[in-house]
Symmetry: C2
């Protein structure tokens, strides 16, 4: 919770936000000395300015698959995406090759571009997921020999990363490499080439292709296997010169919340590389917990998997604890829930809204965290030069005073700014 403390200092009043969380989340905050001016360029001196954060640097994300049908204005999905946008500023769009290009040469670039731009229009940042994966892969690839498959994989990366440059600049480049060459549930083109090239060489090829197509993009490796195998893989890739921008960590906790100790162990171990960490795919269910003996989550097939009141309370508490732990860790830059609504993957009650569109306790809880507790809102009093020092969570801000308003940013390496109110 945020407390406003009123100081009397000399002849001027000064409002300061004092958050109980200031120390814990200090790494998320910066201080900027803003000079407020009116449209004529005159400093707005000795005035109360109301300052409110309107956007976050931190990526609060969720699966954004519903933006695809929302582009057609389908009511249910328009409603869902509005609720989505009230909460999040970052979302994952599906680029599974088997769906994206069901028939060779016919990618659904247009639909994805519309969905990505729809997100952008509402201030949300889209991520493409994934460019290379053995699952949900295009079947037609298997007609080719391995050399051709690799070449088509690299062409696909070049095409899609180039096409979406400027709209999508964050990519899960490769997904689940630890299991990739030993995956034996069914034959697929990517396991074939991974067996041939080995993991590190394939990772290098696909990252090099993505980097060439968009040198400024944030390029992720992503996995659900959080054992030492994945650490060793990343270690090998980095030493082999793979341009990994951030480490993707999946936690699909259908079998129960992992808890603080395990989460902190993951953070400790993956901090080694000093790279940003994205919690890319996270699930917490608000119903029955999946039995522990299930190894591949996809093996758990049920007719229905209802959300329960107790489950929703549990899910709410778990999401809060998990968010607090992750937001407190300096290397974490993104946390992305997986299903926005219940009943998607595995029919699980894994969403923040129910199937009927009603909001679950976890939705309200995340909204409180993101848009109240971790959002800066304060009144500053400008000095004789129209200047005031503002310390807050990094991101975009609105400012208003004397019935005029403007905007500015709080950034890490920007100590001063000018804000025009008009």
């Amino acid at each position: 919770m945020i407390n406003y403390v009123y100081y009397m200092a000399k002849n001027k009043r000064e409002y300061r936000e004092v958050s109980m969380n200031e120390a814990k989340y200090a790494h998320r905050r910066s201080t900027v000395n803003v000079q407020f001016k009116d449209a004529s360029g005159k400093a707005i001196a000795d005035t109360d300015i109301k300052v409110k954060q309107t956007g976050h640097e931190f990526l609060f994300g969720c699966g954004a698959f519903d933006f695809l049908p929302a582009t057609d204005g389908k009511e249910m999905f328009v409603d869902r995406t509005e609720k989505w946008l009230d909460l999040f500023n970052y979302g994952t769009l599906p680029f599974y090759w088997g769906q994206f290009e069901k028939k060779e040469g016919e990618p659904r670039t247009e639909l994805l571009m519309k969905a990505a731009k729809l997100m952008r229009e509402h201030g949300a940042i889209p991520k493409g997921h994934p460019l290379c994966w053995h699952t949900e892969c295009a079947d037609w690839l298997m007609e080719y020999d391995n050399k051709t498959i690799l070449s088509k994989q690299l062409d696909r990366i070049n095409r899609d990363v180039s096409d979406f440059k400027g709209v999508i600049d964050i990519w899960d480049v490769i997904n689940e490499v630890v299991i990739m060459p030993v995956y034996d549930r069914y034959d697929n083109a990517i396991t074939r080439i991974c067996k041939d090239l080995g993991r590190v060489k394939l990772v290098k090829e696909v990252f090099d292709a993505a980097k060439a197509a968009n040198p400024d993009a944030v390029l992720l490796i992503n996995d659900f296997n959080l054992s030492e195998s994945y650490r060793i893989l990343i270690d090998g890739c980095l030493n082999a010169g793979v341009p990994i921008s951030a480490i993707g960590i999946q936690t699909h906790q259908h079998q129960g919340y992992m808890g603080r100790e395990k989460l902190e162990d993951i953070l400790d171990r993956y901090s080694f590389f000093g790279l940003p960490i994205h919690f890319t795919e996270n699930t917490l269910v608000s119903g029955k917990i999946m039995p522990p003996e299930i190894v591949d989550l996809n093996d758990y097939q049920v007719d229905e998997w209802p959300s329960t009141p107790e489950g929703e309370e549990r899910q709410k508490k778990e999401w809060r604890e998990m968010y607090e732990i992750l937001f407190a860790h300096p290397l974490v830059e993104a946390v992305t829930g997986w299903d926005f609504a219940d009943g998607a993957w595995l029919k699980a009650p894994s969403g923040l809204i129910r199937e009927d569109g009603t909001l679950k306790p976890s939705y309200h809880e995340l909204k409180k965290l993101i848009h109240e507790e971790w959002t800066t809102e304060l009144i500053v009093h400008t000095d004789a030069d129209g200047k005031a020092e503002i310390n807050g969570y990094r991101g975009q801000y609105s400012a208003s005073g004397n019935n005029i308003s403007g905007s500015f940013d709080v950034k890490k390496d920007k100590n001063t700014d000018v804000c025009i109110l008009k």
Copy 2:
């Protein structure tokens, strides 16, 4: 078993060895056209020559720790090493830093050099084990900061690999890297620097140091963790340019023989790299099997662990099967048993001889395999130019006829040879 088949062909007699194993082990054999001459240089034409293999290209190995006390002529150890030499051509010598240099600056180079040369004098090839390991490490290293520890580790490698060059040209450069940075049984200098550098960087540093000191040496990475983690580690190291010559695989099977299926799975998975594979440390016990719930074998501490008659029969069969599987695999170049005599590591009945020095059934079985079934012995008949074609297991050969004798080699890429009998 080897069968001699007698052919009648035209006017000349020709003996040929036909082994039932010819196809299975064809990759171990080569054909060489040898011209036999007498001391004056005259071809020994139209003559029966008895040809017998005296040495193997394949490395049949065992722990050779007993050669250290044998250098002093200690009777028990002289007896043991004689039995050892009757069986093996390759042995592992201990270079554990904590033993090798108990006090900083006082390495026991002289003792190890004597032991290595003793082996060489009897035609056995020594291997040094290991140059870097978190276990059995020198305690005095922990007094230094991490930068100094690394520097001393590299100096140690440079010193020992240089000192033994020409005597020991095969090294286990680094041991058990998969567990190294997460090893938490006790603090040690190597876990500290592995945590700092990461696995791949440390592996690269130590291999580069060994390679610089002896560019022609065979340099091994070695591990007991045969999961995908080790494959990923090797993959990363090779892509990062680490000069690994051969992959070391440990199989300490105190908890029971792994069996054909698992062994072939290991061979399949580690063949990916196309590098030679050394089975560096192998244990099969001839007594009670260690309970499966033990995770770190060192936790199993018993007062005595007797060898039993049934256990010795089992051990014999398991060794034969394992040797046959490994010898049949084209990438395997070395198989090294661990304890030569019972009662060493963990007091296990893991040897080929008993504590009292008597030979166990597994000793006789390996001798039959190495020195009979996989040893070529035949009679060839030379043509008018003194030439005869010899196909046999690669290695060193003696030849005799007309009461004079000589020697030659059967090698992979040498199709012709001249052998002088005198």
